[in-house]
């Protein structure tokens, strides 16, 4: 199992995307992950070698600190009204959600989904859980499109993770 440093990860990803540029690491994502696990430095490595039911293998990482597994991180993308936004989901070793964060929201409309209070609704949930708009996920008036989009994205992620965990050993890949 090859361990990448976070910065090397971006480089390898950019190479994978046939980019000739060396990319700087995403300090914001790194900061969020470190803060979530209360450590000053982490390394990430890819969990999957190929995509699995909507989980892009380049989006899904193990989080390690001094070679100890702390949990997992998933970088997702979902549509807003006229654009897309990027979000981060941090899991513990048992795939319980520790934190959800909207990393980049590129338009003004619907940006309310970045609200910590609203995103907390996903915290402590596991892949067996399902999310449904207005059932167990609260609406935000004026941000309906993005709220539904994020809810659906999280729901699909949980379904895929649940399937993947039931069909293989996540700690061995």
């Amino acid at each position: 199992m090859k361990i990448f440093s976070f910065s090397a990860l971006w480089l390898s990803t950019s190479l994978a995307l046939a980019s000739v540029f060396v990319l700087p690491l995403s300090q914001k994502a790194e900061k969020e992950i470190n803060k979530t696990f209360d450590v000053t430095q982490t390394t990430l490595n890819l969990v999957l070698t190929q995509d699995y039911e909507g989980i892009g293998h380049e989006h899904f990482f193990r989080v390690l600190h001094e070679e100890k597994l702390l949990g997992y991180a998933y970088f997702g993308e979902a549509p807003s009204k006229t654009d897309t936004f990027e979000y981060l989901v941090v899991f513990d070793v048992n795939f319980k959600v520790k934190k959800t964060k909207v990393l980049v929201y590129k338009e003004d409309y619907g940006g309310e989904i970045g609200s910590k209070r609203w995103l907390k609704q996903f915290t402590d949930k596991s892949p067996e859980n399902r999310f449904e708009y207005r059932q167990n996920i609260a609406a935000i008036s004026g941000a309906t499109i993005s709220v539904k989009s994020m809810t659906e994205a999280m729901n699909n992620l949980m379904i895929s993770l649940d399937s993947w965990r039931n069909n293989g050993d996540p700690h061995k890949i």
Partner: protein
């Protein structure tokens, strides 16, 4: 966060997800409504009330152009919005162009699937003259740490005199909307709104608008009035229940001179409120939604009058609307409602029956 930092984050993320493709730069969308209005004692009306086409173009991760081209009643074409949005960082945007005035709920959120009732609340025609848009520049943004959204714009205002007196008592400022079309400008107005979404299920808004109306006779003070409009609103959604309410009030200055010079009947204060409650009759697990709703409105465009102008009790409206919004799919709705409209004047109330279809994609 520094601008440089924000830029590299976006580009890094874009590379990661390979988003730097040009195909995603243009967004198309639209909304509209086709309505039937049934009246007592006069012929009914059937109308493609509005059909709006939305175009958004992303120049890069920071700069976006948004426009809405609106067809009203099939044959009238308007540009409803046309602005550039420049995201300085995640919390601050500079916005300039033809923009919606942030006042009340409906003026900014008026797609047919987002409100109950075939017709918009009457207050959102007579007091807040939706769809109210003018050309301006300002800042908008949000803080997800503090759970609030803000907008602050310097804008062009209502025209009160354009080679003739424009404003009148029955609908207050409505005829003064310039809609960005060869607008008269003599004075800059300010518009601001803050919204708080830090409590579960509910959102609050507070808005203020102030300035002077516009005139083509800048040396004639009797052609202008001063205006301060305040608005407050809430929207609540929990499970199958939803509710919203809005209050708005305009206070006008120098109205007596304006009315005397123009022989008009403009009120010096106008305002009112509405309250609405709705309940989804279908289970939440159902993809469709059938909202039963009741709305009560009470507003007056002659809340106060100045000088010799007498209060016209017919301008004090009290309206009840009861009906259904049947959302057959997200973005597609059938609506039907009954309206009971009365005034403070000793005249009979009128009833109205409305049916409509609405869509938003």
């Amino acid at each position: 966060m520094s601008a440089q930092n924000q830029n590299f984050q976006n580009s890094a993320m874009r590379q990661l997800y390979n988003l730097a493709n040009t195909e995603n730069r243009l967004t198309l969308g639209g909304y509209g409504e086709v309505n039937f209005n049934g009246y007592n004692g006069k012929s009914n009306q059937i109308d493609v009330k509005r059909l709006v086409l939305l175009f958004a173009y992303k120049f890069d991760d920071r700069v976006q152009f948004v426009t809405e081209v609106e067809y009203e009643h099939v044959k009238e074409v308007y540009v409803e919005q046309a602005f550039l949005n420049y995201a300085i960082n995640t919390n601050v945007n500079i916005r300039a162009g033809l923009m919606l005035v942030p006042m009340g709920i409906i003026n900014e959120y008026h797609e047919a699937t987002t409100f109950n009732g075939v017709e918009r609340p009457s207050l959102d025609g007579k007091i807040i003259p939706t769809t109210w848009r003018e050309i301006g520049i300002g800042v908008s943004g949000k803080s997800n740490e503090l759970s609030f959204r803000y907008q602050l714009y310097a804008m062009n205002g209502f025209v009160s005199f354009n080679e003739g007196y424009v404003l009148r008592g029955t609908d207050g400022l409505r005829k003064g909307r310039q809609k960005g079309a060869e607008s008269v400008n003599s004075d800059i107005n300010l518009s601001a709104k803050i919204e708080y979404y830090g409590l579960p299920n509910i959102r609050f808004g507070l808005a203020a608008y102030m300035g002077k109306t516009q005139t083509t006779e800048i040396d004639n003070p009797a052609t202008q009035v001063g205006l301060t409009m305040l608005g407050a609103d809430y929207r609540y959604i929990k499970g199958r229940f939803s509710s919203r309410g809005q209050w708005a009030q305009s206070s006008l200055k120098d109205v007596a001179a304006y009315n005397a010079a123009g022989n008009t009947d403009l009120g010096s204060q106008m305002g009112g409120y509405y309250l609405e409650a709705a309940y989804n009759l279908l289970p939440l697990t159902n993809r469709q939604r059938l909202d039963f709703f009741v709305r009560y409105e009470d507003f007056d465009t002659h809340k106060k009058t100045e000088g010799t102008l007498e209060d016209n009790a017919e301008f004090h409206r009290k309206e009840t609307t009861i009906g259904f919004s049947y959302h057959i799919a997200p973005g597609a709705v059938f609506k039907a409602d009954y309206q009971h409209k009365k005034t403070a004047a000793p005249i009979d109330a009128v009833a109205q029956f409305n049916v409509g279809v609405g869509f938003f994609f």
